[in-house]
Amino acid sequence: MFVLIVGAGKVGLNTARSLTHMGHEVIVVEQRRMRYDLLLPELEEKLLFGDGTEIYVLEKAGIGRADMVVAVTGDDEDNVIISEMARLKYNVPKVVARVNNPRNQATFDLLGVDATVCAATMLISMIQHELPVHKYVPLLKFKREGVELVELQVGEESPFANRTIRDIQLPDGVLLIAILRADETLLARGSETLLPDDHVLCLLDPGREKELIHIFLPSERPEDVQAETGIDMLTD
């Protein structure tokens, strides 16, 4: 594959290294002169100096034949514009964009930039996952594929508490994949029993979160449980 990366910060550089290692052809566009000079000895002909939101720079980088564009600059408006141009003007099959400020996630979604990665949101999810007390953590979202991975606590008052997996009826669009109990992880086999205060990992269709919270944590309001993650309140 030929991958065009815009932005040679830590994310762009390491993406370039990893893709090169896997045998892909890579070009990286960087507009900061000092950063460009610093990385030139390593990246050589794989590095191009210029503003990656300029059409002539993208064309010089070969966007016309790119199989994938990765927009990972430090400015969200630039990442949105690069993604839109890659899709609208060059029909690039795959576009991945970095969301720097989680508050801008909604703008990426609104303008049809499907594959986004937000480091802040992911870090917070992983930190919440490590916290001793947490009721609900959205761990991963694959927007384009339409599937999400969430972690939920089994409340004492849940109708599923103290029942074996083969005896419970999950809603459509939800797959229970594992039980996290103290220090062990159990695959969700039919013979396993869900105990209060277990955590479960579920794959689900987007939009099923409220239903799921209602089943596992019936004494909580889904809005409150979701708001507790604080992910909607993130700011710069």
Binding site: T53, E54, I55, Y56, D75, D76, E77, D78, V80, I81, E84, M85, L88, K89, R103, N104, A106, T107, L110, L111
Partner: protein
């Protein structure tokens, strides 16, 4: 009508003053609180400090009830993105973006964003000015 203007530089403050003089209701957004001074002491409109990319800032500026939105911050990309948010999220059909780069101005105009490109306009005005000097023709 009610107009929200993002960017309180020379252009943003200038059109804000004209619009209020015409009797319109205007709110100006800028990240720099001091830029308010460009509007003059007697500016009757509103001023909101913040980034125009932020939906909450746009809402605070009353984007939900706006008849028109003008994006004239110092960033082409910010202007294009803001105008698209105004149009697609908040239903402001008259959303105009200043875009200095003629290539991007043309591309996003073709997707339905109203773009104004001062670079292109300046080129033709300057060319007209040179042509109007009636300079003697030289053999090529």
């Amino acid at each position: 009508m009610y107009v929200v203007i993002a960017g309180c530089g020379r252009v943003g403050s200038g059109i804000a003053k004209v619009l209020v003089a015409e009797g319109h209701d205007v709110t100006v957004i800028d990240e720099d609180a001091d830029s308010f001074e460009l509007l003059g002491d007697d500016f009757p409109g509103q001023f909101v400090t913040g980034a125009a990319l932020d939906w909450d800032v746009l809402k605070e500026a009353g984007i939900e009830g706006a008849d028109a939105f003008v994006a004239v911050t110092d960033g082409d990309n910010t202007n294009i993105v803001c105008a698209q948010i105004a149009q697609r999220k908040f239903g402001v059909t008259c959303a105009v973006a200043r875009v200095y780069d003629p290539a991007r101005a043309e591309l996003f105009a073709s997707t339905g964003v109203r773009t104004v490109c001062p670079t292109r306009d300046a080129r033709s005005l300057l060319l007209d000015a040179v042509h109007s000097c009636q300079l003697p023709q030289r053999e090529v």
